[in-house]
Amino acid sequence: MSQLTSLPRQLAETANIVLTTGDAVIGATPKDIVWTHRKVTLWRYRSAVRRHPVPVLLIFALINRPDIFDLRPGNSFVEHLLEDGYDVFLLDWGVPDDEDADMGLANYVCDEIPWSVREVLVASGQRELSIIGWCIGATLSAMYATLEPDDSPLRNLVLLTMPVDTGVSLYTTWVGRDSFDVDQVADAFTAVPGGLVDIANKMMKPVANFVTTYRKLFDSVRAGTANRVAYQSMAKWVADNPPFPSAAYREWITWMYKENRLIRGLLRLRGRRVDLAQITANVLVVTAGADHIAPRHTTMPFLDAISSVDVSHLDRPGGHIGLMAGSKARKETWPHITDWLGQHSGADRDTAPKRRST
């Protein structure tokens, strides 16, 4: 009987948590604007205990906001980096709109990333930097690394859940087929609505995303273990989907999923071939065992394609986002990344042992 009487309160509390998600505070770590161009902003987070001379530049995907790097106080990868003594910069793609329809992959890889790298070096007063890319941001970072000349300022490249060889993947099944008319979508929208991309992503695991998430929240409310702040911060981030500029969308779907150009060495940006063998920076690749968006097998061929001598691969449990933002990330993923970065971020470039490890 007591269960029945408490049911309305539990339902109301669950609804309240869901309905007030928009009030959650995310991306709260203080930061300064270093540089802007169009909708792109380069942010800087200042560490009070800076120990590592090599600054870190964070690059996220185009289809969600980069706040996931700094989700909430107490569970923020940015905080973790700052506490570990890094000078941290974040490349924020902003929220593109109709006027940014002409932003293609080349604009991101050949302009925005190199320009922000230059500004990071100027602002930090250093000659080298580390880049941490995640999802599409990792792929764009890898593309940038191939285009850099020999005197590249890129010392370390950390790539998280990165799609590279998309030959066999659910996305390819959906959008790689001839009947999916990417040109029709890109022509109809100057900026493909983020909500459409989000629905497609959620459709990959429909029951888990549309039912289980809310059922688990209700269960935790019933058990008295609901973590309102944790749920709302993640839910708010998941629901914040900026539009995908139509040129970038068309190129991403066509080149990566319909033609799988990157791993085949057929991708060209502004006439320059994106050859993964040109990558010589120290590389750490992180994959997630339960990643359904960029499954491990879509990333692994990258390790054989690059020329770097110092290559490490870290495979962790978790999903595409949970790997870095889940409750276990703080203990199971972040320390491994900062340990690796620490070994490769000394004043002397050659201090870290050169090896390939998994």
Partner: protein
């Protein structure tokens, strides 16, 4: 083989089964898990992918027809519409692109230039 009569529930098995509410919860979770597996199999099929392609095409076409009609209406009323705002914004973006290219050239020149010698303090004029 002779069927055995159902045994009396022991204390341990009762504890494992839990209350009726817990049993219902477990049954529901089991059903949800099975539905999840089935749906993931379904969305991974070629048939679903084909249907998704057609649905996307239809939805996009409908949105485009609606958008074009709205644009025509706004233009007929001689009001500034979204496309006009986008056109102005695009011009601003191009200007910003040019400014950025100038900044990058400046940065390159700064890299090439040797740092200026430190300034000597100006001698104070004697009274």
């Amino acid at each position: 083989m002779v069927a055995q009569p159902p045994s009396e529930p022991t204390e341990a098995s009762t504890a494992r089964a839990g209350t009726p509410a817990e049993q219902i919860q477990r049954l529901y979770e089991d059903a949800e898990y099975r539905a999840s597996e089935a749906m993931e199999g379904l969305v991974a099929s070629n048939g679903f992918a084909e249907l998704l392609s057609l649905l996307t095409s239809n939805v996009v076409a409908l949105i485009k027809v609606g958008g074009d009609a709205a644009d025509t209406l706004i233009r007929t009323l001689r009001l500034a519409g979204r496309s006009d705002v986008a056109r102005l914004s695009r011009q601003l973006a191009r200007t910003e692109d040019k400014l950025e290219l100038v900044l990058q050239e400046l940065r390159l020149l700064q890299d090439r230039e040797p740092p200026p010698p430190p300034r000597r303090p100006m001698p104070r004029a004697k009274p």
